[in-house]
């Protein structure tokens, strides 16, 4: 088959860069450094429960904030003139063109105890804030970095809602609030679901943001895994096990959400 031949490079790509790493991680997770089978890596994980809890909690908070900011932004944007929409979208995307690390460092220098924010506050004779090295700073960093991933899918779904559906709702007696609640919001759910996924997944596994803005006290899963591979606590087997468990939890979350949004076609990009 011609089509099959054409898809060969993609199948190869997927096998090499998607399937193989997962297989490797799974193998690592169930073996010791000498290659024997073990469940030890998983039984040791109990002590890291707080890290799991913190990671999911912070990612959840960041996702909710992104949704609360991103939905109204997308909705308002979709009602503006095409010209305005173009410019605004550009501005939303612009920070993404800059290095992620650099942007996070920028927040560091803003939030530091002697950083821009506090200097401004003291210049205005206001009490200074101690944000750096707290979970709040991590959440802030996540929201800043991942907001575009919430805005873009919601925006693209809302702009695609057929104008005549809104008119039909008005025609049938729906005042503006009702048009939103009964038509626009339900029809934008697929965008909301993919937005949530696209924010939550990177947020739960981030390590740069938490390292730079969260200090040692708010270690997240990403940091923990990184430590097992590159850090002082070198143990790739434990790291793989943690990564595997995290992946399974995320998958379960996504499945539950998919179920929740059933009936909405092309719902979530996993």
């Amino acid at each position: 088959m011609k089509i099959k031949a054409l898809s060969a490079p993609y199948i190869l790509w997927m096998a090499l860069f998607v399937a193989a790493p997962i297989v490797l991680i799974t193998v690592y997770a169930f073996t010791t450094s000498s290659g024997e089978f073990t469940l030890n890596n998983f039984s040791r994980m109990g002590s890291y429960l707080p890290v799991f809890g913190r990671s999911f909690l912070l990612a959840l908070i960041a996702t909710v904030i992104c949704l609360l900011l991103g939905y109204p932004l997308s909705y308002i944007l979709s009602r503006e003139s095409p010209r305005f929409q173009q410019i605004a979208l550009m501005l939303i995307m612009l920070p993404m063109w800059m290095n992620y690390l650099l942007r996070t460092y920028a927040w560091l220098s803003i939030l530091e105890n002697t950083g821009l924010l506090n200097r401004l506050l003291s210049a205005l004779h206001l009490p200074t804030l101690n944000i750096i090295n707290t979970p709040s700073a991590v959440v802030l960093g996540m929201v800043y970095n991942f907001l575009p991933f919430m805005v873009l899918p919601i925006y693209s779904v809302i702009t695609k809602i057929d104008r005549s559906l809104i008119e039909a709702a008005q025609d049938l007696g729906a005042p503006p609030a009702n048009v939103f609640r009964r038509v626009i919001f339900p029809l934008s759910l697929p965008g909301v679901l993919s937005g949530i996924t696209m924010v939550f997944v990177p947020a739960v596994s981030t390590f740069v943001i938490s390292q730079l803005l969260g200090g040692s006290k708010s270690m997240l899963l990403g940091d923990l895994i990184e430590m097992q591979f590159l850090g002082t606590a070198y143990n790739p087997h434990l790291g793989s096990a943690i990564a595997l468990v995290m992946m399974i939890i995320v998958l379960v979350c996504m499945l539950v959400m998919n179920r929740f949004g059933q009936g909405e076609e092309q719902a979530v990009i996993l």
């Binding site: 057929d162 005549s164 559906l165 049938l172 007696g173 729906a174 038509v183 029809l187 009936g263």
Partner: protein, 399 residues
């Protein structure tokens, strides 16, 4: 029947300096089936949207039941619309689509203290009305189906039910049958007419399909270039078109220059003919319409005029024949076969002529030269039903 319900008074509409409606004056009677007919861009949909409340006219008044409603938003108007592509809510099933308006509706009820307060409809009431409507549009048993899983005809019925369940005084229909195939279209035409008569609702129907307009309407309003060209019953519009545009748009017409000598005498091609028209100035230049079915083919001796057949097309019931009269090509419909190249005579009864005053459209329509050229190209090929479309296309009214 003849109570006036809606009136558009001196309504004009412009989008960015482009005038779409030019001083429209029109009234709609209660329980009437009125069709706005015209080519695309003639302003018919704009007129409908003004009545629906989606547009406010740049100038002029919209009067509903004696009240000016220019700035009343759509959700407060007692008017419902059936949209061109139905605009069914894809996230709701058939039942919820139809119940949409009822769930928003408020009725005035007297509470136990005799005070009047507003309340939503009860679940029971909504249910019985939705079920009743499903019956009307023959979709009983479909209530839990997803609307995206329905066929075009079924979606159309849901759209009708969703609008009518609210018991509007007026139903606006924006080319509702445009997406359906021929057979289904005919069925739905009958169905719509039946529903309209049974429920006693005013229908304002927008279409560019003249057959549809003639078949369904009590009153037809022919529009072009943002102006009303003619208002009348289907028979009036067909038999007594006001100008060349209307004559050409409604059915097939041969339109030739003529001179009205006196009442009952019209001259075309340099010869005088008896006609039934009157009321023109002596020797007034006029447009004369001759419908293709009003021309009889006779022998050259008996004929009033003689011409050469340049084309013949079999149409089922009749033949379409193109005849060349000194360079001017006519369309004639006849059951007689006349081979291409033969010379034939024609005869027209006095009631076959319709004389119109000259208008801005004079000379623009009613010549079948291009029509015939179109056929010459495919003349050698076997008869192709597609050529029917080709014939309508040369008129210049693509959708």
């Amino acid at each position: 029947m003849s109570k006036e319900l809606i009136r558009l008074r001196n309504c004009s509409m412009a989008f960015d300096d482009e005038i779409v409606l030019n001083d429209i004056n029109l009234y709609f009677n209660d329980q009437e089936f009125l069709t706005l007919l015209g080519p695309s861009g003639c302003g018919k949909t704009t007129t409908l949207r003004i009545i629906g409340g989606f547009l406010s006219p740049t100038s002029g008044d919209v009067i509903f039941d004696g009240v000016r409603i220019n700035h009343i938003p759509p959700h407060k108007r007692k008017v419902n619309t059936i949209f061109q592509k139905y605009a069914l809510f894809p996230h709701l099933n058939v039942y919820d689509n139809i119940a949409f308006g009822l769930r928003l509706a408020k009725t005035e009820i007297k509470d136990t203290n005799g005070r009047i307060r507003k309340a939503g409809l009860s679940k029971k009431e909504i249910d019985s009305r939705v079920m009743e409507m499903l019956e009307v549009v023959s979709l009983r048993g479909f209530e839990n189906r997803s609307v995206t899983a329905l066929s075009g005809g079924q979606q159309q019925r849901v759209a009708i039910a969703r609008a009518l369940v609210n018991r509007p005084k007026v139903l606006l229909l924006d080319e509702p049958l445009g997406a359906l195939d021929m057979r289904l279209r005919k069925d739905m035409q009958n169905e719509l007419k039946r529903i309209q008569q049974a429920m006693g609702i005013t229908f304002i129907y927008v279409t560019h399909d003249q057959e549809e307009a003639l078949a369904m309407s009590d009153t037809v309003v022919v529009m072009n270039e943002g102006r009303i060209q003619q208002i009348g019953t289907p028979e009036d519009i067909y038999n007594e078109p006001k100008n060349a545009f209307v004559a050409d748009f409604i059915g097939e017409s041969n339109i030739v220059d003529g001179i009205m000598h006196e009442d009952g005498i019209v001259e075309i091609f340099g010869r005088k003919f008896k006609c039934l028209d009157s009321g023109f100035a002596p020797m007034e230049p006029v447009d004369v319409v001759i419908r293709p079915e009003d021309v009889d083919i006779v022998s050259i001796k008996e004929g009033m005029l003689a011409g050469t057949v340049t084309n013949i097309t079999f149409k089922g019931v009749h033949y379409d024949i193109i005849i060349d009269f000194k360079g001017f090509k006519w369309l004639i419909q006849t059951t007689d076969f006349c081979p291409v190249g033969s010379v034939i005579g024609i005869k027209i009864d006095p009631d076959g002529f319709h004389v119109m005053k000259k208008s801005q459209y004079s000379g623009m329509y009613g010549d079948y030269s291009s029509y015939s050229a179109e056929y010459d190209e495919i003349g050698d090929a076997e008869f192709d039903p597609e050529s029917e479309n080709a014939a309508t296309e040369v008129d210049g009214y693509e959708n």
